[in-house]
């Protein structure tokens, strides 16, 4: 089963992050790097990425065939996706063990969701 581990960020965690010493920030990045390496070595990692700041996001809408973009940041979004891991593991419990290693989990900002599988028996 594939699962997406989503790592969120919010104004509170950004403040906490900015208050970190360089050594503390390095330690947090190291935790992500170590998780990434362990997932890859286990053959469980599909892909993982950290996302650029939401101020660089563009919202896309198509109206009457015309593509319109608007620039972020989008005030209504208090929490935003900061990064993700797409993994394949036997059980969601095992994924939760991985997710608990993510530093952002200390702030309750890590979410695990199953991915819809493209196969299935006919009803």
């Amino acid at each position: 089963m594939k699962y997406l581990i989503m790592v969120y960020s919010n104004p509170m965690t950004r403040t906490v992050w900015q208050g970190f010493s360089p050594a503390e920030q390095a330690e947090a990045w190291q935790a992500h790097a170590a998780l990434n390496e362990d997932l890859a070595a286990a053959g469980e990692l599909i892909v993982s990425q950290a996302l650029a700041d939401p101020s660089l996001a563009k919202r896309v809408s198509v109206r009457e065939g015309r593509t319109i973009t608007s620039d972020g940041p989008f005030a209504e979004a208090k929490e935003h996706l900061a990064g993700f891991y797409l993994v394949e593991c036997e059980t969601i419990e095992h994924v939760i063990e991985h997710a608990a290693r993510i530093p952002e989990a200390a702030f309750g900002l890590v979410e695990v969701r199953p991915v819809l599988e493209p196969n299935g028996l006919e009803p």
Binding site: G43, E117, N119
Partner: protein
């Protein structure tokens, strides 16, 4: 048939035989497997343009042996000591007892020390002769992930003492059971909409059937091996009718049965009939028997649900589980009516293993649907659609819910949903 396709089929057939010959000669399953993989790739490039050699198996063994010595030379000192024992002459073709090699390889690739995803990847490569890239495309994961799974699996086999030989007779049944589970996993992985991007995955069902045939050649008297092959054939026979052109699923009850593969059905029925008469009963045989009852009904309305219910009763006795319980309840509805089935579903739900199973809602929706309670059915179809982990099933459940939405001036008529398997 195009030459490239012929070459591919030939290579896939020879892959386990060549690997078996190499492992028997040199030992060291993991290095041999890499060497054979490279020989297969070389052949896949050369043979279609330069022609197939007179002794294709001997060619592959020679090339793989050469590669094997190179690989060993590049490895550690421990490895180098082993390499001194290597004989360099090419293999004598035709002397390899490939019958046992394929079985021993299957058992090794499905070694109990490995996780199911690793067993699947290793089996597809070492026995199926697929490349890492092909496996990655079929499993919808990056090539690096598959490569890592294979190398880790081989490492784990080495450290846990897995050997290329037949296990002792008392271990054999459990080891064969593991192989059957892996083949069924491969089959189900591929049993999806056979359109567009899903094509590579659909080939997995063909591959699973091919491997199950090879296994049956080796263990013709094992009822469960035959049962699994029959189950795959009888399920795959419905493939042409199970999806609409837009890729959505057609429930069993609404499929155009004239499009079912009659040859596969005939073979599956022949296999399951033969084995039920001779071998001890098992879960795959019972599932195959159920599939056979469906496949032999000319119309959905002709289905012998009494027989299906009897088979589910037996299945629940020897291999109980949430899916068996739920499928049996669907059969109960067809024999005794939806009210009886709904009462049994409520009782079954008190089992914690079942209470959280997403199919409970789908089955309840179906039962309410045939009972005529369209509004409640719609609610449960919607609930089930939110809980499923299968995209085609989600689309199907949503379409059922939409079909039951009250339009202006009353409900639409007709179109009962199929039993949810």
């Amino acid at each position: 048939m195009k030459l490239a396709t012929q070459v591919e089929d030939l290579l896939r057939e020879l892959a386990p035989q060549v690997l078996g010959a190499l492992v028997r000669r040199y030992g060291g399953f993991d290095t041999c497997e890499d060497a054979v993989q490279e020989a297969l790739l070389a052949a896949a490039v050369q043979w279609p343009t330069q022609g197939v050699p007179g002794d294709p198996k001997g060619w592959l063994i020679t090339v793989a042996s050469r590669r094997q010595t190179e690989l060993l030379r590049n490895e550690s000192a421990r490895r180098r000591r082993e390499a001194t024992a290597i004989r360099l002459e090419p293999a004598e073709p035709g002397t390899a007892p490939e019958v046992d090699d394929t079985l021993a390889l299957l058992l090794l690739c499905c070694h109990p020390s490995l996780t199911p995803v690793s067993q699947v990847a290793l089996t597809l490569r070492a026995v199926g002769g697929l490349s890492t890239a092909e496996i990655a495309r079929a499993l919808l994961v990056p090539e690096a992930t598959v490569a890592q799974r294979i190398s880790r699996a081989k490492q784990r086999i080495r450290t846990s003492g897995g050997e290329f030989r037949m296990p002792p007779p008392d271990e054999l049944p459990a080891r064969v059971t593991a192989v059957l589970r892996v083949l069924y996993l491969i089959f189900n992985e591929g049993y999806t909409a056979s359109s567009g991007t899903a094509l590579h995955r659909a080939e997995l069902t063909t591959e699973a059937i091919r491997l199950a045939r090879q296994l049956r050649d080796r263990l013709p008297d094992d009822g469960e091996v035959t049962g699994l092959l029959a189950l795959m054939l009888l399920t795959d026979a419905r493939r042409p009718a199970r999806t609409r052109p837009d890729g959505t699923l057609v429930p069993l009850a609404e499929q155009d049965r004239s499009r079912w593969d009659a040859a596969s059905i005939a073979e599956g029925v022949r296999l399951i009939t033969g084995t039920l008469a001779t071998a001890p009963i098992g879960a795959y045989q019972l599932q195959a028997a159920i599939a056979a009852v469906h496949d032999e009904s000319r119309q959905a309305a002709d289905t012998d649900w009494r027989q299906i219910l009897g088979l589910y009763d037996l299945l629940q006795g020897i291999a109980p589980g949430p899916m068996v319980t739920l499928n049996r309840i669907v059969a109960v509805a067809m024999v005794h009516g939806p009210e009886v089935a709904l009462r049994q579903l409520t009782t079954a739900e008190s089992d914690p293993a079942l209470a959280r199973h997403h199919r409970v809602h789908a089955v309840r929706a179906h039962l309410l649907d045939i009972a005529g309670d369209r509004e409640a059915a719609r609610t449960y179809y919607q609930l089930a659609a939110r809980r499923t982990l299968s995209l085609p099933e989600k689309q199907y459940l949503e379409s059922r819910a939409a079909h039951l939405a009250p339009p202006d001036g009353g409900y639409p008529s007709g179109g009962a949903g199929g039993p949810v398997r």
